[in-house]
């Protein structure tokens, strides 16, 4: 059973909060902060939210099947470490390979052994974070030149961050809306038992979702490492929970079956605008977390679920 009234919101989960919140932030900021619509500020917001957007899109895929992946932040950190440790020619394939292995471990634990996704990904989060710190104890090293170029260059007047966002949104949209796999993801999330009885394989797509989420973490890690041009074993620490916050603000239901790419994008933009707006308005950065927490509670208050559960 889906969490909120599907009749009311549809399977996109887009409602008053997910659409109204970023809009309200835009109106508020354009009225209160004159620099908000400056090209430089828009580019800043874009580059600040790119990595979170990529991770949130991965988290969306997992949330649609009723899962959650809090290990994705550790994948970002491990990617950053691998990029500076491994030979530059093999660095990106190594990072993507490691992410596939982590996603596979999560997927097997959840799909075959029926471990609660929160527990399984908590275990891999701790393990992978330890592994990243074992490789490198603090930030250092030099990222491959190609990765730095891909993250920092600009094409046709648009910064690279813009293209990373467009590409990520495009790929995830095609996977979810234009493929048989996407259809199965929504079916499993809405009711796994019905999906299985209708002949759709359940375990395979579940594992694939966790692999996709870890890959999203690796791509975000590649982008971020390119931006800062060095490796950092704690680079992704906040991403696990921030990505859950972003999709929750975007109307995605953690119990599965309800959510959309547009929701994940809007949720991420809302988080980005909160941070940017508070900077522009001169509010202490320490209150970012407070405002985000309050908004999160506000968002879930307006989206009452029917199910009882984690």
């Amino acid at each position: 059973m889906s969490a909120v009234s599907v009749r009311r919101l549809g399977r996109t989960g887009l409602g008053l909060v997910s659409l109204g919140l970023p809009l309200a932030m835009f109106v508020l900021l354009s009225a209160r902060a004159p620099d908000f619509f400056g090209l430089q500020n828009i580019a800043n917001v874009n580059s600040q939210i790119t990595a979170l957007l990529i991770v949130a899109l991965g988290q969306l895929v997992v949330a649609l099947i009723g899962g959650i992946d809090i290990s994705v932040g550790s994948v970002v950190s491990l990617t950053s470490v691998l990029l500076v440790l491994v030979d530059p020619a093999l660095a990106v394939p190594a990072a993507l390979g490691a992410a596939c292995a982590i996603g596979l471990a999560n997927g097997i634990g959840v799909a075959f052994f029926n471990v609660h996704p929160l527990i399984m990904t908590l275990a891999t989060m701790t393990f992978v974070q330890g592994l990243a710190l074992l490789f490198v104890s603090s930030a250092g090293g030099t990222a491959p030149a190609a990765v730095v170029m891909l993250a920092r260059a600009s094409f046709g007047g648009f910064p690279a961050a813009f293209f990373w966002c467009v590409l990520a949104i495009g790929v995830v949209s095609i996977i979810l809306y234009k493929s048989r796999f996407g259809l199965r993801v929504f079916a499993i999330g809405a009711n796994a038992q019905s999906a299985a009885l209708s002949g759709a394989g359940v375990s395979g797509p579940r594992i694939a979702c966790y692999i996709l989420c870890s890959l999203a973490g690796a791509v975000a890690g590649i982008y971020l490492t390119g931006r800062i041009a060095t490796g950092d074993p704690t680079l992704g620490q906040a991403f696990g929970l921030d990505s859950v916050t972003a999709i929750a603000l975007g109307g995605v239901q953690l119990s599965g079956g309800v959510g959309s790419v547009a929701g994940a994008v809007l949720g991420t933009i809302t988080l980005g605008l909160i941070a940017n707006g508070m900077n522009l308005l001169g509010v202490s950065p320490f209150f970012h977390a407070v405002v985000t927490g309050c908004l999160l509670l506000g968002a879930i208050s307006l989206q009452r679920r029917k199910v009882i559960g984690v």
């Binding site: 891999t124 320490f286 208050s301 009882i308």
Partner: protein, 328 residues
């Protein structure tokens, strides 16, 4: 006659099988603790000295107290990840000197804070059916943000005299913290085993929809569990602040995740309606003992994190495989 003889001779293996099945159903924490103690006896016998064991027990006490609340929430198909935020706030209220009150008043204020945090968590989870993960994480963001912002004005300082005494003193050879842990654990375990509330917890955990339809007070049970959980988190933070001797913003940061690991190792699983209080308590000791053992092997923080992750994953997989066998 012949039939009776056959029956009698078959009774013994059956009885043995029952004992075997009973042993196999014990929480992993019992078997794990025993295995760790044997392993330490062979590789690091020094760790088994009573003095050191009591020290490890004292280290495990704050986690053990937090685990009581966490296991209660998990048995009700909920979760409390707000321990870190609560511990941070308690540490700041007690040690910053920002609030000009006497020690008992500050302690009472912290308990009130725990009560409020638990009630707010429960409100969102019970009335709005919100995901407990999101609600309690939002609570961490709010509490952590407020405390971090305030700590720019005034940083945490020394902990109150009373809590330092509780955290560091001993009665005979027994640390007072261990007595506090026992004083929280034993009544709670008995209460859940003997009271009607305990039966409600089991029923809701096994099938919340069926429990709801049967008229079991789900909302009241969630309020009770989350308020108790936050109060235990406050008590746990008292012990940590007293034990360390001063406040810190990172105090109790790993309490939520470690408590989750301990609850799983202790045999409490989501949605099974099963689980006791002693298994998770043994798991709290097991985790602390394993951290000490790994340190004695020269394993640094990263190695410990990896071992912790592997332990959680293996324990969760073992439980799932075991329950799948039982249902087959």
């Amino acid at each position: 006659m012949t039939g009776a003889i056959v029956k009698e001779s078959a009774a013994s293996p059956h009885w043995l099988k029952m004992v075997g099945a009973r042993l196999a159903n014990l929480p992993i924490s019992y078997i794990g603790t025993a295995a760790l103690l044997v392993g330490a006896g062979l590789a690091r016998p020094a760790l088994l000295q009573p003095f050191l064991l009591l020290l490890i027990l004292r280290q495990a006490a704050p986690l053990g107290i937090a685990v009581i609340g966490q296991s209660l929430c998990i048995r009700l198909l909920s979760l409390d990840l707000s321990f870190g935020g609560v511990a941070m706030a308690v540490s700041y209220v007690l040690t910053s000197g920002y609030l000009p009150f006497s020690e008992p008043v500050l302690i009472a204020l912290c308990l009130l804070l725990g009560l409020a945090v638990g009630a707010i968590n429960a409100f969102f989870i019970a009335h709005l059916r919100a995901s407990s993960v999101i609600v309690t994480l939002a609570m961490v963001l709010i509490l952590g943000g407020v405390v971090t912002a305030f700590s720019q004005l005034r940083s945490p300082g020394e902990s109150p005299e009373l809590l330092r005494y509780i955290g560091q003193a001993r009665i005979g050879i027994l640390p007072v913290t261990v007595l506090v842990w026992a004083a929280a654990l034993i009544p709670m375990a008995l209460f859940l085993r003997l009271s009607v509330f305990g039966r409600y917890v089991d029923a809701i955990g096994a099938n919340p929809r069926a429990a709801w339809a049967s008229g079991i007070p789900y909302i009241r049970a969630i309020y009770a569990a989350h308020i108790l959980s936050s109060l235990f988190a406050v008590l746990s933070a008292f012990l940590l602040v007293g034990f360390v001797g001063f406040g810190s913003l990172s105090i109790g940061a790993d309490l939520a995740l470690n408590s989750l690991a301990a609850v799983i190792l202790g045999g409490v699983t989501f949605g099974s309606g099963k689980g006791g209080m002693l298994g998770p308590a043994a798991a709290a000791f097991m985790l602390m003992f394993s951290f000490n053992l790994l340190t004695s092997f020269g394993l640094g923080e990263p190695g410990k994190e990896m071992a912790q992750g592997a332990i959680i994953a293996l324990a969760a997989i073992a439980y799932s495989a075991r329950s799948a066998r039982q249902w087959a």
